[in-house]
Symmetry: C2
Subunit: 227 residues, 2 copies
């Protein structure tokens, strides 16, 4: 039984890789760079996107794919930004609820005019375990950790902090009210993902938001997508 | 392929139910009430346990089973409390990392002297999706939500907020610094789990901790476990 289960899981991961490659080919054809935005629930991904995309990213036509277990709260919030936003709910079946996979993203692609985009940001389901195991055809992965979650998270969820090209430390405005030492966090992070880039932000005060916007603006160029 | 995967998952859930019942029988035999403590990563479960169990629960011999993807940080913290604490790591295999299941809990039981306990608190892996689907043989489930995560979480993760007998709203001390309206949260919660009991706490200021301790003290009596 156990062996059968493992094989089925391996088949599912193989299938995911194949579909992720198909997504990647579509993104390349359309010249779209794709970022997979991951975090625990409530780390502030949507509020950060509002802060970054409110003024827009100059010269980069951006769209968002919103992944949620249920509801369209986040997509509704981003709709005010007047950019293409597509909601994707994962509550259809067991095992698919806790993360986006390549096939779910693929199912949403017909709703997006890829030719009209330079950058697609995919906001994943809030979860510090499962999303790390499923590539979706993205160019880069961002892991958002809020200071309210505690400085120990890289040691407790190592795969997620390893499976990203950028770590955003969000809710800096709460730093003085919580027990979170940025140096200690960086020290723990270095143990699981040495030298990964870190940007500290507060979506509320705006601190670090320009830096994050600049990082996102650079993704299409870094990945060779047309801008 | 899809049908095979669904069947395997159903088999896995069936197996989980069977093992959860075996756990339940062992807990009953030893007269132990069991609480499954769930939340998103960083909601403050361990700090709450420190606050509740530091002074102890009068007349209730309490032990803790610590579930984490990796490391023993939480168990190390609780070791100072001089109560039985067993660490359980879930990073052994794919698909098992994101939650505790009945079999993982069962594997830890030999390390616990159940006869010496009235109440066993199982701290689950931080995750707002997967733990809700796997019973472990517990009497009651507590869902901890931090005010820093935002008031919209019941609508975004409905199964988790439904699969519990108590919702703890933690980090009350941050309430004035975040955009979180307790009435709004309660309103959203009522949409997915009407009339579920709510206790608001701050592990730092101690607010609500006595109420939570009293609730936990009542679990053995409510479930008929010997005290």
């Amino acid at each position: 039984m156990h062996r059968v289960k493992v094989r089925i899981v391996e088949d599912a991961l193989d299938a995911n890789t194949t579909i992720a490659e198909a997504n990647r080919a579509d993104f390349d054809r359309a010249g779209v760079a794709v970022v997979n935005l991951m975090s625990a629930p409530g780390a502030g991904k949507t509020t950060l996107l509002e802060a970054v995309l409110g003024p827009g990213i100059e010269g980069v036509r951006t769209g968002v794919l919103e992944g949620d277990v249920a509801g369209s709260l986040d997509a509704d919030r981003l709709a005010d930004l007047h950019i293409p936003v597509v909601q994707l709910n994962t509550d259809g079946g067991f095992g698919g609820e806790c993360h986006l996979d390549a096939n779910m993203v693929r199912s949403a692609l017909p709703a997006l005019d890829l030719e009209a985009l330079d950058l697609l940001i995919v906001e994943n389901v809030g979860n510090l375990v499962c999303p790390a195991e499923f590539r979706i055809g993205e160019d880069a992965r961002i892991m958002v950790a809020s200071v309210a979650e505690g400085q120990d998270k890289p040691l407790k969820y190592p795969l997620m902090f390893r499976a990203c090209e950028l770590v955003v430390v969000n809710k800096l405005d709460l730093l003085e009210h919580v027990r979170f030492d940025l140096d200690k966090f960086r020290y723990y992070l270095d143990q699981v993902h040495p030298d990964v880039q870190v940007i500290a932000t507060s979506a509320y005060t705006g601190e670090g938001v320009d830096e994050l916007r600049a990082w996102l603006a650079g993704v299409p160029a870094r990945t060779g997508a047309a801008v």
